[in-house]
């Protein structure tokens, strides 16, 4: 049962333009959301996160927006650069009790290609 969904397997954007990657989730208990970037032959690298008490978080060229009522989040990259070409994973975790551990639920990823 896929609780985090990334419905676009791939996205192609021209250098300098905005890249928008989307993610939907079904579990209303999720309270923390993350984006990871993955290059071939490397592990996923943390990019940016957002808590459920916020609706926007910015870090340089990267902004994540959270719409809790729609159970939707998006990652905006402005301006896009060729080095941003990678697979982007959306992930979410839910409220945990102390000592019970925590897990990330990942989407299937969106492959972003930024062309010069």
């Amino acid at each position: 049962d896929q609780q985090v969904k990334q419905n676009s397997p791939s996205l192609s954007v021209q250098e300098g333009r905005i890249s928008i990657l989307n993610c939907d989730y079904t579990n209303s208990m999720f309270d923390y959301f993350l984006w990871y970037k993955k290059y071939p032959a490397e592990g996923p690298t943390f990019l940016i996160s957002i808590s459920s008490i916020k609706d926007k978080n910015e870090d340089g060229r990267f902004t994540v927006f959270l719409n809790k009522s729609a159970k939707h989040l998006s990652l905006h990259i402005v301006p896009s650069q060729p080095g941003d070409s990678a697979v982007y994973f959306c992930a979410a975790s839910e409220v945990t009790m102390s000592n019970s551990g925590y897990a990330l639920n990942f989407g299937k990823g969106t492959s972003l290609l930024v062309t010069p």
Binding site: P44, F46, S49, G101, A103
Partner: protein, 117 residues
């Protein structure tokens, strides 16, 4: 500062065999999690260890087991390998207290690529 290191990077096994994968967490981290990433899929949570105990487990059979050592390093063991166990196995480390507070940011290693023939 060394990040998360995993070994071996690649290995090939046959059905029915057993495999052990190893992970050293990022310096300063005390919690280790294991994820399985099949081709074309996102990482799936296997289990998480803290203070040498399994704290949470995903939907994986008992053939998957793990261990955490006093130096925080960890092993993932898979018995009676099936063809479907072929995947990239990712180890991730984090700080237990940060995760409990809600900031569940994991640092991942490059993974161990397991092929079962």
């Amino acid at each position: 500062d060394a990040g998360v290191t995993q070994s071996p990077t690649h290995l090939i096994k046959t059905r029915g065999q057993q495999v052990t994968l190893r992970c050293s967490p990022k310096s300063g981290h005390d919690t280790v999690s294991w994820y399985q990433q099949a081709l074309g899929q996102g990482p799936q949570f296997i289990f998480q260890y803290y203070e040498e105990e399994e704290r949470q487990r995903g939907n994986f059979p008992d053939r998957f087991s793990g261990h955490q050592f006093p130096n925080y390093s960890s092993e993932l063991n898979v018995n009676a390998l099936l063809l479907g166990d072929s995947a990239l196995y990712l180890c991730a480390s984090s700080l237990w207290l940060a995760g409990i507070s809600g900031a569940n940011v994991l640092t991942f290693g490059a993974g161990s690529r397991l092929t079962v023939l």
